[in-house]
């Protein structure tokens, strides 16, 4: 049976998307630029820019002469690739085989897909869908090469079976996707359209232009094979459980969760990934939707553990008349750490894993922000000298500082105290904190800590470590310099052991 291919070309793929996202750009001339050596090159341009005579691969400096109000944006190739991939996934509704033709095209294998709709109807439907959003060009032919050529260069859209040659004849040599050097040579010799050289004997063509031209002609006419690599259909990590009888009890929900987890985890294990976030949706008889969501600190496929996390939240579900359908969806996955690969890990967790699971349970109840580890940070200002991390494995990059005395308990906010201090640069003799007078017997300091001007403006602090008559040790500081006009402010900031 004859193959039928549909080629799609989005001449302004990224720029069209930008106009959809940002309405003010619609109908404007703008370009995406990339730096190439010391030149800025326009990599993608909008339709309006094209109308003004701009072309891709033009230096931006030249373009400015033609169009003074040209807007420019940075070009991100990954974004374009992602968009094209998403497009390809959308086209799976027409055929199971969709291939990418980077950077701005797609191929659809339409063989046998025209039972319900003719090829013309397909073309019309696709065009209608994209009308006003994306500029699109379509070509249908027996071969990939011919479909591509028709989409890019021909006026008509469909080449009837076995008629691709007829449609190719009037097209320029570029339509065969030849290399730049070959194209230049063809032009030099006066071959402006395909019909001028397509009937020349292959051996003669090869002598002049190399092997490539014969290969391309053969592929376009269907004499030589061309690879078609379809994308794999996305398969969301989702499991459904229909209930014969509506479920109303917590026990029933538990069984449902256990069932769903088992199927999901066995699939995740095969793919070497673990759950980070998962959602359970329960559809009630009266049409209402109830959802509970869990998250983990580490990717996990430990069924018992994940079940416990869901169990903590079961009481949030109101079954009312009963639940008829459960859907469990894994919304975030991550590759499993290497040690979990062995198959018995689904039952007994590792050392650090056990702690991670404990923290998961706590964070479900108390929220992620409740759990903290601290690592040293290279700042003198005491409040900035530690940083909070959530990762269990992260190790400090620098040593914990030991050279300066630091209290064991630090107040979150320094609290003002009343002091009587003899002369500048001496620790106070007494201070009052929470209505209690402390007589200072021993003191160390001062240790001056300046504000880090690149982070924060403010006065410096002169810290003293003091001990009162009972042996209680405090960390006090005076804010700023002594001044004859105003009294210096003193604060308590911590307690030493």
């Amino acid at each position: 049976m004859n193959k039928r291919y549909l080629a799609i070309w989005f001449p302004y793929l990224v720029t069209d998307q930008m106009a959809i996202k940002q309405e003010s750009l619609a109908g404007q001339a703008y370009a995406l630029i990339a730096q190439e050596r010391n030149k800025q090159i326009m990599v993608r341009i909008s339709r309006q820019a094209n109308r003004q005579g701009l072309r891709t691969n033009m230096p931006l400096a030249d373009a400015r002469i033609i169009s003074s109000d040209l807007q420019t944006f940075q070009f991100y190739p990954q974004k374009e690739q992602k968009l094209l991939k998403a497009m390809a996934e959308w086209f799976i509704r027409y055929t199971p085989y969709v291939a990418l033709n980077s950077p701005d095209g797609l191929f659809l294998d339409l063989t046998g897909c025209t039972v319900w709709k003719s090829e013309e109807q397909h073309v019309e439907e696709i065009k209608a869908h994209f009308y006003g959003k994306y500029h699109i060009k379509i070509g249908i032919a027996d071969t990939l090469g011919a479909a591509w050529a028709i989409a890019h260069y021909a006026k008509e859209q469909i080449a009837k079976p076995n008629e691709q040659l007829k449609h190719l004849l009037n097209l320029p040599p570029k339509a065969l996707q030849l290399e730049e050097s070959t194209l230049q040579r063809l032009e030099k010799l006066g071959f402006y359209s395909i019909d001028s050289f397509i009937h020349i004997a292959p051996s003669t063509l090869r002598r002049r232009f190399g092997d490539e031209i014969n290969l391309r002609i053969g592929q376009a006419l269907g004499r030589k094979p061309e690879a078609f690599e379809p994308i794999t259909e996305p398969n969301p990590y989702e499991e459904r459980l229909h209930c014969l009888e509506p479920i109303q009890t917590a026990k029933g929900i538990e069984i449902a969760i256990a069932n769903l987890l088992e199927t999901l985890c066995s699939r995740l294990q095969k793919e070497d990934v673990g759950v980070r976030n998962a959602t359970l949706s329960a559809f009630r008889l009266d049409g209402k939707l109830q959802q509970i969501t869990i998250g983990t600190n580490q990717p996990s496929i430990h069924i018992k553990h994940l079940f416990k996390l869901f169990e903590l939240k079961i009481k949030q579900i109101e079954p009312d008349l009963g639940i008829e359908l459960f859907i469990m969806k894994v919304t975030k996955i991550e590759e499993l750490p290497k040690q979990q690969e062995t198959f018995w890990q689904t039952d007994t967790p590792t050392d650090l894993g056990e702690i991670a699971e404990l923290l998961d349970r706590i964070s479900i109840k108390a929220g992620k922000n409740a759990i903290r580890r601290y690592l040293p940070q290279e700042h003198h200002w005491p409040e900035n000298s530690i940083k909070a991390v959530t990762n269990l494995k992260e190790q400090p990059e620098t040593e914990w500082p030991m050279h300066k005395p630091r209290p064991t308990v630090l107040l979150n906010q320094p609290e003002p105290i009343q002091v009587s201090a003899p002369i500048p640069d001496y620790p106070p003799m007494t201070f009052t904190y929470k209505n209690e007078i402390h007589r200072i017997k021993k003191a160390d300091g001062p240790e001056r800590i300046e504000q880090e001007w690149w982070l924060n403006e403010g006065k410096h602090r002169d810290y003293y470590q003091v001990e009162d008559e009972k042996g209680q040790r405090y960390w006090l500081f005076r804010l700023g310099h002594y001044n004859s006009k105003t009294t210096a402010q003193w604060f308590i900031h911590g307690f030493f052991a």
């Binding site: 050392d351 650090l352 056990e354 702690i355 404990l358 923290l359 349970r361 706590i362 109840k365 108390a366 409740a370 759990i371 903290r372 580890r373 601290y374 690592l375 040293p376 005491p382 000298s385 530690i386 269990l392 992260e394 190790q395 400090p396 914990w400 500082p401 030991m402 005395p405 630091r406 209290p407 064991t408 308990v409 630090l410 107040l411 979150n412 017997k441 021993k442 003191a443 160390d444 470590q465 003091v466 001990e467 008559e469 009972k470 042996g471 209680q472 040790r473 405090y474 911590g494 307690f495 030493f496 052991a497």
Partner: protein
């Protein structure tokens, strides 16, 4: 009159009960790990009991600072270098940087901040179930006998050492904890009459020890070692002392 055979049987049973409650029999290898022999002698089997719950009372932040330091001093002696600890409390007041001096690397501690007492108790129990932890420290306002009993039963299974730091000291009633401690600061110790604040020194009171004796002594901490300086008189009027 008690039969000598009965006496032997009772002694053996007592030993078995102790073993079940988490008090390990003394072995040659772990003799006086802490370096606090006089204190340790007051515990059953003359060893500091691990795998049990210890209760620390501290009413003022000054005392909390000393208690935290003392606990980290104990933990660093009891465990290997790379243990992981969980510290559960209402709001973190502990300053991680200040802990290294007392033998614990601050990044070994996972801090959990919870608001409700009930949640703290729940998290403490969950944490105590986790065998991979080297210690669980929990800051609580108060704990009832039933609650402490529940925690004790948890650690008997998991053998994790728990430390409860209680801040409310007005009404202290019996708990199922292995020991009740009180650490208060003392005037620091200056070497060779050097000026300034010297090495940390604390009054360590063992107010209550299950199957053991109360004790009281002054302990100093320098160069990473806990050392007993003086054995003060046994603490008799414990409740009066707490109430003051």
């Amino acid at each position: 009159m008690q039969n000598p055979l009965q006496k032997i049987i009772i002694e053996r049973l007592q030993r078995e009960i102790l073993d079940l409650e988490g008090f390990k029999t003394k072995t040659q290898s772990d003799q006086s790990k802490l370096g606090l022999k006089i204190l340790e002698d007051n515990f059953p089997n003359q060893t500091f009991p691990t795998g049990t719950i210890h209760e620390f009372v501290s009413e003022k932040p000054e005392h909390t600072a000393c208690t935290s330091a003392f606990i980290s001093g104990l933990l660093s002696k009891l465990n290997k270098q790379n243990g992981i600890y969980i510290w559960i409390g209402k709001q973190r007041q502990l300053f991680p940087v200040g802990l290294k001096k007392f033998g614990i690397l601050p990044h070994q501690i996972i801090f959990i901040n919870l608001v409700k007492q009930k949640d703290i108790l729940w998290a403490t129990e969950e944490a105590l179930k986790c065998k991979s932890l080297s210690g669980v420290i929990s800051e609580l306002e108060d704990i009832t006998f039933a609650q402490s009993q529940r925690l004790q039963l948890t650690v008997e299974k998991s053998r994790v050492t728990g430390f409860i730091l209680r801040t409310q000291t007005a009404h202290i009633h019996a708990t199922a904890c292995a020991a009740r401690w009180k650490i208060t600061p003392l005037v620091s110790e200056n070497e060779n009459h050097l000026p300034g604040v010297g090495f940390a020194k604390w009054q360590v009171d063992l107010l209550k020890v299950r199957n053991g004796n109360t004790a009281s002594c002054t302990v100093s901490y320098h160069h990473g070692e806990l050392a007993i300086i003086e054995n003060t008189a046994p603490y008799l009027f414990t409740h009066q002392a707490i109430g003051s």
